[in-house]
Every structure is written in C-alpha cells, then in structure tokens.
C-alpha cells in the first residue's frame, strides 16, 4: 500500500479532519444565514468554492510579485472582483435564489475562510496545490452548509430542495414543522451539535480545558 499523494491529502484533509467551519470556526456567519433552505445553501456553497479556488489560483500565480506591505489589499481586490462576477452571474441566471441570498454572496469578499486560505496557503505555494487546497476547503465548507441546510429545510418545512418529503399536518399528513428551524438560533444549535459530534469521534480536535476544577483533598468529601 502506497502513501496517498500529497495533492490527494491536500484535497481530503479539509473535508472533516481540518474542516474550516467545524475545526477553525471560520465563515460561520454565512453558514448560519443562508442555510434555511437547501437550494440557497447549495448555491452559496458553490459560489464560495468557485471564488475560493479561482482566487487561490490567481494569488498563487502572482505570489512573487505582491509586495508584502499591501498584500491584503491586493488579495481583497482579487477576491472582490471574482465575487462581483459570481454575483452578476447569479442575478442573470438564478434570479430568485440570488434574491433570497441577498447580501451574503457579496459578503463572500469578507469571508474569513477565503482570506484565510489565500493568506496562509496560496501565498506560499504554486498554483496547482493552492487551487486544490482551496477546492478542498470549499468542499469542506459546502459539506457543512449542505448538512445544516438539509436538516433545517427538512424539519422546518418538511421539504428537501422544494419537494415535500414529510407530509404536513395542515395538508392531512402527520408532520408539524418546527418553526425554530427557520430562525437563526437553530443554526447555532445544529452547528454546535455537529462540532460536538465530530470532536467526539475525533478527540484530537478537542481544545484543552481552560480551567481545572479545584482539587478536593482526600477525606473532605
């Protein structure tokens, strides 16, 4: 058995083991805001993955020419240009979804995940590994978004991608939608539960305790 190639592990590491959302808690603002339905979550996930991969590629190409002092400005300009292109494409071809995504596509510009990857990886690596790393991180983000979006849409409206999966009580079925799932706190609970589940399976991700409980001397209890 041969060891997996470095490119393959660059792609698969961020899926769960180094997942940007559940391990580094990056980009959760949009993860909370766009996951009320699966279609918006999918669109957002796709847009972010594309922006991330392209910006990583471009920044990696010109990485030897970016002066260090203004690198953040250069990176943001590149990311913002790509985001505008994606936003225009969405408005042209997926108008309804782009309406329900509202500002969150434009806010990909300031998504910590994008700048985090370009700053920490694409600036120091050649284009191909950079883009693969960006793709892996985009897919890791997408995985979380799709999981949370699916759960919220299923239990909040009984539908998946707009198709009725659970028969609603008001239409003669048995399922009463959980109104909480449509509110922002539920995304926090679900994300928290997901982080908990992943860190239970992979205890190496858990952070060390910040405080130790006071020691109780023997015989005091």
């Amino acid at each position: 058995m041969t060891a997996p190639s470095p490119l393959w592990s660059t792609l698969t590491q961020p899926l769960i083991r180094q997942n940007p959302v559940t391990l580094q808690i990056l980009g959760i603002c949009s993860a909370l805001a766009v996951t009320t339905q699966l279609p918006t979550a999918l669109t957002m996930a796709g847009s972010l993955t594309i922006v991330l991969a392209l910006s990583a590629g471009i920044i990696s190409l010109i990485r030897r020419h970016i002066p260090d002092a203004i690198r953040l400005i250069v990176q943001i300009v590149i990311v913002a240009s790509l985001v505008i292109v994606i936003d225009q494409l969405l408005q042209a071809y997926l108008f309804e979804i782009s309406q329900s995504l509202s500002v969150f596509v434009s806010l990909i510009t300031t998504n910590c995940l994008v700048l985090g990857r370009t700053e920490s990886f694409a600036r120091h690596n050649p284009p191909l590994p950079s883009m693969i790393d960006a793709l892996g991180n985009g897919l890791g983000y997408s995985l979380v978004l799709i999981a949370i979006g699916a759960v919220r849409e299923l239990f909040g409206a009984g539908t998946l991608l707009g198709y009725q999966v659970l028969p609603l009580a008001e239409q003669g079925g048995w399922f009463t939608p959980l109104a909480l799932m449509m509110l922002a706190p539920s995304a926090f609970f679900l994300l928290g539960g997901l982080v908990w589940a992943i860190r239970t399976v992979r205890p190496e991700q858990a952070e060390p305790p910040e405080f130790a409980a006071p020691q109780i001397p023997e015989g005091m209890e």
Partner: protein, 263 residues
C-alpha cells in the same frame, strides 16, 4: 460548598423540598393530567442524567427533578409526546449536561426547554396557572431564602421593580401587568431564583432581580397578545443570559473601589 453536609445533592434535595408547596398545590389542582405530565418529564430528564452518567461518568443529580417539575408546570399545552420529549431533551442536554452537569451550567435547563418549546411551536397555547399557586409560591420562596438556597436579593430586586412600576402609575398597575403578576412570581421562584444560574455577587443579585422585574413590566405593557407564562419565561431567559454580565460589572466596580482605596 465542599465541606461537611453541604454538597451539591444536599442543595438539590433541599431546593426540591422548598418547591414542594408549589408542586403539591399544582398537582392538587391539575389532577391526573398534571401527574402524567410530571411523570413524563421526570422520566425523560432522569433518562438523560442516566445516559450522561454512563457515557461521561457524570454523577446524576436530583436537580433533574427540579427541571422536570418546572417544565411540567410551565410547558405549553397540546404539544404531544414527541415534541415534549424533544424539548426536554434539548433543555437538559444542551443547557445543563454538556457543561458537566448541574452546578456548571450557564442557563437553567428548564428555562432553555421552555424557551425552545415556546419559540419552536408558537401555535401551542401556554398554560394558565390557578391563583392559589401564586400563594403557594410564597412559602416556597420563604423556605428557600431562609435555608439560604434562593437569593433573597433577587426576589427583593424583582419586587422593587414591580413597586417602581406601581409608583410610576401613581398607585395603579400599568395596563396589562396585573394579570401577569401571579405567573411572574411563580416563575421567579421556579426559574429565576435557581442558585446556579442566578447572579452570585450581592449587587449583581439586586440588578438581576431588577432586570427580571423590569423585563416583565416591559413585556406585559408592550407585548401585544402574549400569554402571562410566555412573558415571564422570556423575561427569565433574558435575565439569566445577562446574569454573568451583571456579576462581571459588580466585580469590576468592587475592584475599581479597592484600587482607589488601596492604591
């Protein structure tokens, strides 16, 4: 509270005894339906304590029974078995057991359960508690404060807020407040005075009680169409979220004063 008799379970059991007047009067008026609700809540809450004992070696606590009692009394009606189980599981696990059990939680698990059920199923009607229950809450509060389990300053602060609102209205209650008062007092004793999640500095407790009372007055006068239980539970939730901040403010004040005196 490490030495001698006063360990966590003593507190939990004594608190349970303090709440007995309230529980017994509620069961007396509620009949078989109340008994089934309480039994169900006790079983679910107990089951989660058992799960966490087996999975994480966390000692189970009689505080689970207090949670069950508060939830059974205040949870919205006509929810059905599945949703009640979901709500109690959410509250006990997410608000208490994941933090390491009773004594380490940040908000009261019963408050979390009730807020979850209230926001999650807005169509379900909130319960109306009979007036004798509010009278039964008085001996419960007196017992709790005398035994040192419930912070008397919190009750004082809440009463002070009510008095101020009475004074502002020149001797009459503000519109909409009077029907909320009995429920607000029951919730004060059941949820707000919980020794773990209420504020724990002395000025913090006054502020915490004042905040709860103020929120009840605010919601009662400004929230159209809300049930008394909904108003009181929401006020309890927001007040308990603010409790750590009030403690922090009290500690900062104390440190600033000490720095001024001692240099």
């Amino acid at each position: 509270m490490i030495r001698g008799l006063w360990d966590r379970e003593t507190v939990a059991l004594l608190l349970l005894i303090c709440l007995m007047p309230l529980a017994l009067v509620w069961l007396w008026f509620g009949g078989p339906e109340a008994w089934t609700r309480l039994a169900l809540a006790l079983v679910i809450s107990g089951a989660w304590h058992l799960v966490f004992m087996l999975a994480r070696a966390q000692p189970p606590s009689f505080a689970g029974a207090i949670t069950a009692l508060a939830v059974a009394m205040l949870a919205p009606e006509e929810l059905g078995l599945a949703r009640l189980i979901l709500g109690i599981s959410f509250g006990s696990v997410m608000a208490e057991l994941v933090f390491g059990g009773w004594g380490r939680n940040v908000i009261n698990p019963a408050t979390a359960t009730l807020a979850f059920l209230g926001f999650g199923f807005p169509a379900a009607p909130w319960p109306e508690l009979v007036l004798p229950l509010a009278w039964a809450a008085i001996p419960a509060a007196v017992l709790g404060v005398t035994l040192g389990l419930m912070p008397g300053r919190v009750i004082g602060g809440a009463l002070l807020a009510a008095l101020v609102s009475w004074g502002v209205g020149q001797g009459t209650w503000p519109a909409g407040l009077a029907p909320v008062l009995p429920m607000a007092f029951i919730v004060l004793v059941l949820l707000v005075c919980d020794p773990v999640t209420s504020a724990s500095t002395l000025p913090g407790r006054w502020l915490y009680g004042l905040l709860y009372g103020g929120l009840v007055v605010l919601f009662a006068t400004g929230w159209q169409g809300a049930a008394p239980a909904q108003i009181a539970v929401s006020a309890a939730l927001f007040a308990s979220l603010a409790a750590p901040m009030l403690d922090e403010a009290a500690i900062s004040l104390w440190r600033a004063r000490r720095r001024k005196h001692l240099g």
